[in-house]
């Protein structure tokens, strides 16, 4: 069965490639062009527009992540590893750590401590293989004047020699992993959903790139790959996960996943480990003894844009 399938895909690839060559390169008369146009349109309906050679039969007909069997996943991960090797020349491993039982993640950020040094941004870009050109960064650090939290007056391009500056405070914003995520409701193809540990994930292979979720997100947390990500080969993080930090294709959405590939193995997110001020706290909200539960009970906690009812899992606090 497998043999038949592969030869069929080979044939298809050859046929479509030949047709495109014929029409784009060699067609001379109007009549022959029109004759072949119909055939090509048929071919294009089957296969997507540009990288005809790159898109295999299996890839085009890959199911949504939630419908994949373990065997499917194994094959897909192997294929993605091979493709990364071809494209970026780096050996990577793509895993799929499952959510833990009895765990719901919460992230806390101490606004009294954060001094806006952006070390978290740097660590995040490296850990999650974000495109350097065009630039994609999950964390946006906003600078506010003391006494006001008007987002319209905030500045994300601040660049003094030393931070913090007098009379300013800083609010890093990334995906808030809402309990009630509007992006998930906006997605027309169910390419994004909330996992049981609370992390909102994206199946990059199922995403159609319509950017509805970007419009729905009130925190501007979702970023779009307008071009194929460019990452220097030596900076690629080889430890990747299917739903989080594997290198994204062009034309899909991406966002913070609480470093799913790290936290589901018990480690801290990369931004937390990079923070020199100790402003970032992460843990299990369901465990009453965890630091995050204690912060929730003892400190003055706030969430951004509370009135929207998104119920973020990312909290800010003061002390």
């Amino acid at each position: 069965m497998k043999f038949v399938k592969s030869t069929f895909s080979e044939k298809m690839k050859k046929r479509v490639g030949a047709l495109v060559d014929k029409v784009l390169g060699k067609s001379s008369s109007r009549r022959s062009f029109l004759k072949q146009l119909g055939l090509v349109v048929g071919g294009l309906a089957l296969a997507p527009s540009k990288p005809l050679q790159a898109m295999s039969w299996q890839e085009f007909f890959q199911k949504n992540y939630k419908e994949l069997t373990p065997q499917d996943k194994k094959e897909i991960f192997k294929r993605l590893e091979r493709q990364t090797k071809e494209k970026y020349g780096v050996d990577v491993t793509i895993g799929d750590p499952p959510p833990m039982d009895g765990v719901e993640y919460g992230y806390f950020l101490n606004l009294s401590k954060c001094n806006g040094n952006r070390k978290c941004v740097e660590a995040c870009v490296k850990e999650n293989n974000q495109s350097r050109d065009p630039q994609i960064q999950y964390i946006t650090v906003l600078e506010f004047e003391n006494g006001d939290m008007n987002f319209n007056k905030s500045n994300k391009y601040y660049n003094p020699d030393l931070v913090p500056e007098k009379g300013k405070f800083y609010v890093p914003i990334s995906c808030q992993q809402c309990h009630n995520p509007p992006c998930v409701k906006a997605c027309p193809v169910e390419a994004t959903w909330k996992e049981k540990d609370g992390i909102v994930v994206i199946d990059y292979n199922w995403c159609i790139g319509c950017r509805y979720c970007q419009a729905a997100c009130p925190y501007e947390a979702r970023k779009f790959n307008f071009a194929t990500p460019k990452i220097p080969a030596e900076e690629i993080n080889p430890k990747q996960a299917y739903l989080s930090n594997r290198i994204r294709p062009k034309g899909v959405m991406e966002k913070c996943t609480f470093c799913l590939q790290r936290v589901r193995e018990g480690r801290y997110p990369a931004c937390l480990e990079a923070c020199p001020t100790g402003a970032r706290k992460f843990g299990n909200l369901l465990d009453p003894k965890s630091e995050v539960s204690q912060i929730l009970r003892e400190k003055r906690v706030l969430v951004l844009k509370e009135e929207l009812g998104t119920q973020p899992r990312f909290y800010y606090y003061f002390d």
Binding site: V103, N115, G116, N117, R118, K119, V121, E122, Q135, Q137, T140, K156, Y157, Y158, N159, P160, D161, L162, V163, P164, V263, G266, R267, Y268, L272, E273, C275, P276, T277, G278, K281, F282, G283, N284, S290, E291, Q294, I295, E298, K299, D319
Partner: protein
């Protein structure tokens, strides 16, 4: 040709001498080490009940080895308990807390063990190592100590559901000028192209 050979020779000789210069003090510093390690053991508190089990407070003694107090303050004669303007290596020390700058009773011995500056002393008179500096700081900064024990204040790396490493107070707040230092920020995001 001969000139090049000579240059090479000079290079290697200077390299050798340079290595010697680095290695000799290191040898002496190590020679002094076992003594302090031995005495550390005897003064360490029996068990660290302040920190969650499995967690480790990042040790400070190792990073202070290159700057040992006993190198200059060797004998009882080398200690001056009079309050005065600090000189030599100590000019960058800020009086902490600043409001007690004029207090004649407040000086080196407020935190350091008398006649033995490689150790700290609590208000109770108990002698502790630099590794337990949080017990000393916590005498005044009780709220911070309480938060630190619960990992609400300070930095912890490792595993959120397992063993972790906790920074001690003095890892982030230098003991003699404890204010958190300003940092150079990572460059801002690029502005969108028009």
């Amino acid at each position: 040709m001969a000139n090049r050979m000579r240059r090479k020779k000079v290079f290697f000789v200077s390299l050798f001498l340079g290595m010697g210069l680095i290695l000799i003090p290191l040898y002496f510093a190590q020679g002094a080490e076992p003594k302090s390690a031995e005495s550390q053991k005897s003064t360490q508190a029996p068990s660290n009940t302040d920190v969650p089990p499995g967690d480790e407070v990042i040790k400070r003694t190792r990073s202070l080895e290159m700057y040992p107090c006993h190198e200059c303050h060797a004998g009882p004669a080398d200690y001056n308990s009079h309050k005065r303007e600090l000189t030599k290596e100590h000019t960058d020390f800020v009086s902490h807390p600043t409001q007690r700058k004029e207090d004649p009773a407040y000086g080196c011995q407020s935190c350091h063990q008398e006649k033995r500056y490689d150790r700290l002393r609590l208000a109770t008179g108990e002698e502790i190592t630099f590794n337990e500096a949080y017990r000393l700081c916590g005498q005044c900064h009780g709220t911070q100590l309480e938060d630190w024990k619960k990992n609400i204040h300070g930095r912890r790396t490792g595993f959120w559901n397992g063993a972790g490493k906790i920074d001690s107070c003095t890892s982030c707040h230098p003991a003699h000028s404890p204010q958190f230092k300003p940092l150079k920020p990572f460059p801002p995001p690029l502005k969108p192209r028009r």
